[in-house]
Amino acid sequence: MTAAQRNPALPMRRAAAVIGVHLLLVAAAALTLFPLLWMAAASLMPAGEATSLPPRFFPSEATLEHYRTLLGRLDLARYLGASAVVALGATVLSVTLNSMAGYAFAKLRFPGRERLGRLLLAALVVPGQVGMLPLFLLLREMGLLNSYLGVIVPSMASIFGIFLVRQYAEAIPDALLDAARVDGAGELRIFAQIALPLCRPILVTLAVATFMGTWNDFLWPLVVLTDDRLYTLPVALAGLFGEHLQDTELMMAGAVVTVLPVMLVFLLLQRYYVSGLTAGGLKG
């Protein structure tokens, strides 16, 4: 017998709860989406309309002129390309290196494994900025300033990524790997042909996280790239913002171009990304 059957007042209260929860959910969703929707709407308004009084929420007539200006005169496609190169390069490298290391920490026994693991875990709280100045000098010595490789270098491997994969790979049954060993497969082949396919969901999580992190990163590319033709999108957008402070609609279009690719990647892969985040990595 459920509580609802015992107490006749409960269906009413349940209806109130249903309505209340959904009102709150819809209100919260509206507040969350509003800045993004307004950004999209304003990017389509003719110049000056976004700052008219009373405020407008929809363009009187939608125009793509700001997108044309951005891609034409302001050469935004170049920065879009730079961001794509940096984010994709970092993603491929980080998924490769972190999956290899994460698997090794989970399934291979080697001297110092536990101690190394504890050291890396402790270093998780160290903010990246602490080593930023020497890293800058190091890349300067290596001739990597003003290069995309220089932007990618610090995200090629990450402690977070190693642990994300390790946690997941630990669930692979040892019997499976031992069976392959008995059949004479080498360790590298076991990694590539057995472990890696089993780890695919967590690798998607890692890929999305790295792509998002490097595409959106601002401070490090700002430091490494001084030649404005090499800027990534966020750095270029910050620069444009300084010059075109009054061109609201133009800046909104720039923001849309910067935000949209990551949003699409997230929407396409969110199922894997979210389950990976909650299943393995953040249990530490």
Binding site: A17, W38, P54, F110, L133, A157, L237, L277
Partner: protein
Amino acid sequence: MKRSNLVAAAVLAGPALIVIAAFFFVPLAASLLLSLTDFDIYSLADRRALHLVGFGNYTSLLADPLFWRAMRNTAYFVVVGGPLSIAVSLGAALLVDAKVARWKGLFRTVFFLPVTTTIVAVAVVWRYLYHPRFGLLNQALAALGFAPIDWLGDPAWSMPAIIVMAVWKNFGFNMIVLLAGLQAIPERLYEAASLDGAGAWRRFTAITLPMLAPTLGFVTLLTAIGYFQLFAEPYVMTQGGPAGSTRSVVLLMYEEGFRWWNLGRASATAFLLFLVIVAVSMLQWPWRRGRALAAQGVRP
């Protein structure tokens, strides 16, 4: 096994460990050394201009009101923005997790969308929302009969304005983590409490909060560490102003290091921030131990 296993471990773990050693641990150690020198723009051109100054950078920083201002601003952001973020994340997670809620996936996606954006782009949007004359926020206030607020131009409002934007941008991430924590709480606990006559609020305080405490502690630690590194928001929105009211420690470090090229002093700034973060993480240890215990006992 042994030899081939060792070779395989070296081949697989080696590259990542070398990258992390070279581009994370070495710079970290070098940063400590650099902070003990007077490395500046002259040393950048000629290493002979470089001198050890002991703790000179630290003593001068600790005597500099600008540094303390930046520390206070950062602490304001962490202490007010952190709990606010987590409260909003928890609220959203509870709503999405509510048994009666429908379209859970859709709402979860919507709440996560701001997390996928880059701060620079949303800072551009929020700057216009905060515009004293045309900004929609002040338009809304005017409609309700309130006087306009110069959000980013008034030193009293600039940090709250940045906090609101940061909460909006970040709450979705912690919501996902907390949602997983909520879903791991055994349903039978709630059923038993209901049979004993516990109301919704009582169930929340007696079951949800204690069971969620380890996850909350973990999320709090991550958020605090992240918020101590406040940089892009004030860089784009206010350039640290007005009147230095939003200049964070990392922004100070950036200006010191990459605008004035005082790399020694900037490294000392970074290290002091690091020490604060380590101290805060230490405070969190009891939480994390609790989390580890809970993780063993009540896994989904």
